[in-house]
Symmetry: C2
Subunit: 366 residues, 2 copies
Amino acid sequence: NMIKVAVVGGEGIGPEVTAQSQRVLNWFAAKRGVPMALREAQYGIIPYLATGKVMPPDTVEAMEEADAILWGATGGPETKEVPAAARKAGSLLGLRSKYDLYANLRPIVAHPALADSTPLKASVLRDVDFVIIRELTSGIYFGEPRGIETLADGQRRGFNTEQYTTDQVRRVARSAFELARTRRNKVCSVDKANVLETSVVWREEVIALHAAEFSDVELTHMYVDNAAMQIVREPAQFDVMVTGNIFGDILSDCAAMASGSLGMLPSASLGPVDKFGRRKALYEPVHGSAPDIAGRGIANPLGSILSVAMMLRMTMNRPEDADLLEKAVAGALSGGARTADIAEAGAKRLSTQEMGDAVLNALEKV
Amino acid sequence: NMIKVAVVGGEGIGPEVTAQSQRVLNWFAAKRGVPMALREAQYGIIPYLATGKVMPPDTVEAMEEADAILWGATGGPETKEVPAAARKAGSLLGLRSKYDLYANLRPIVAHPALADSTPLKASVLRDVDFVIIRELTSGIYFGEPRGIETLADGQRRGFNTEQYTTDQVRRVARSAFELARTRRNKVCSVDKANVLETSVVWREEVIALHAAEFSDVELTHMYVDNAAMQIVREPAQFDVMVTGNIFGDILSDCAAMASGSLGMLPSASLGPVDKFGRRKALYEPVHGSAPDIAGRGIANPLGSILSVAMMLRMTMNRPEDADLLEKAVAGALSGGARTADIAEAGAKRLSTQEMGDAVLNALEKV
Ligand SMILES: CC(C)[C@H](C(=O)O)[C@@H](O)C(=O)O
Ligand SMILES: CC(C)[C@H](C(=O)O)[C@@H](O)C(=O)O
């Protein structure tokens, strides 16, 4: 029962932040005896130049056999050198789809030590601790038909299809209800059922599943426009929010600032449970490849490191170790450790590596 | 050249707030000689009970002949008594579509006097003054095919079509560029072109129009998820933002809190310019019918009153009078006038009518 982890740093700041979270993983293997086998693999321009593929066979194999994938970021400054077709063949969207990673968990936690670096007032940040579960393999991201056509009068028309089926809604809603039971037992389902038929099905299926199996969980519904406002107005009201692919994409970024920086945010993307009880999962920071700061060693690794905490909790079944790591991050922050994105004017700015050190030091102490 | 205004309070708090903005309109007619003819008309449950139509012929006629419609809100607590079909026949979405009100302007202004009642820090609110232009008659709100179907395996599937054509993008982008020229000359176009073909067309058409006719305006592009974050992180960076129907719906609510309350926000929805140079416009507060407080006389009328300022500027071509009204609102606020939604604990709360008085008093003074 070694847990297999594929470590794929990818492009831009991906490899830099992943190097730090890999150190953290190694610490848990060495010091806490968490049974894991790490396998590093490449993604992006480097394997592309060598093999013509952004995702070469070795990487595919590593991910195939993995229980968990620790993913960095895609889309570096070198992106333009890779033809669109070659890139698409190994894209993040393709990966989500291939492994059917339908439940994307994005926790939003306000770190008291970072209150000064957020745009929100301290009173608003109090007790902010919720999880957005975004459906990740359907909706308008994958709906067919889609494309660009030329009309009779010479105009162009771009079109996409938003869609959800009963099963697609219910399985992600199930993840939300189950997660809520381990937390404050509240689910808020977000849709636009006053306008979209897709959302009517979404809402009705969430209600039906709730009535059938989860009536102990408090369920509310919110329109997506109102949800965007409530996330700014009073984010502490939420426990678990569940929504579709594009709404979740927007709302999770809208909520990001409560954490002080996009660089702070972890995520987990979970697939279906297979017949052996295994559930493929991809863990990645919410931030992207940040080409503007790539290669400078100043990126914030905490989004990636906190993704390791999610891995400990969800794939490795080590909740105490996950708590330990989250406490270590909080400890490093309250000890004053700051990368540039969360530093106030005049404060000392740690490098990516130094922030990794700060977390490892804090781990030794908690 | 009397300007014809249809005044339709509608449902919930709509009639209450509209009564105050109508007083303001009357003030401009009487004291500033703005040539206007107001015609009141009913919408909602009351005409439905009398005529079987939420939008009876008299109301249709009033709106038909109007240059500007001052709209309150739809969807009162009594909504359930009106069958869905009857309601749909005279809905707000139907109205937008009927008059082709494609450019929906939603200004976001941080009122310094209200800094304490927003969730954002004063430093973030400084200089926030931008306009979101939301495309209002196309996109996923109106795209076909749409519906709910039953699949072979018994599952249901809800589906909607997101779509934009060349002309639909260009005309709303034109509104944005033209508005920017009267302001700080910056347009940010928001899309999801890294995922959606609809957004690819959107972006390319915006770029083409810009190159052909508006290259003096600064144009930037942002993905919608990033835009949601930037609106919270640093709203002062924006001047004019232009985006599609559903993205604009979400982003304008996400931005609402910078103004202190949804109750503060005005909007204008503009149709095409006809061969006589006229442009049908509908002015309405962004808030809805607020059934929970309807009938209590405590709603904030400033969203509706500031919509009158937009009407003065855009339909009546009276920019000085629009400025006057906006100054009067600012004056009332800095004089301490507060309805419940923007009052701090312990502060005196004005009724809807008293807030109307406060604005009229301030108008006499500026
Ligand atoms: C890069 C992009 C395709 C992606 C998405 O929209 O899903 C990103 O914004 C995210 O949220 O993971
Ligand atoms: C009531 C609803 C249909 C409407 C919309 O989504 O357009 C509202 O949210 C708005 O923003 O005007």
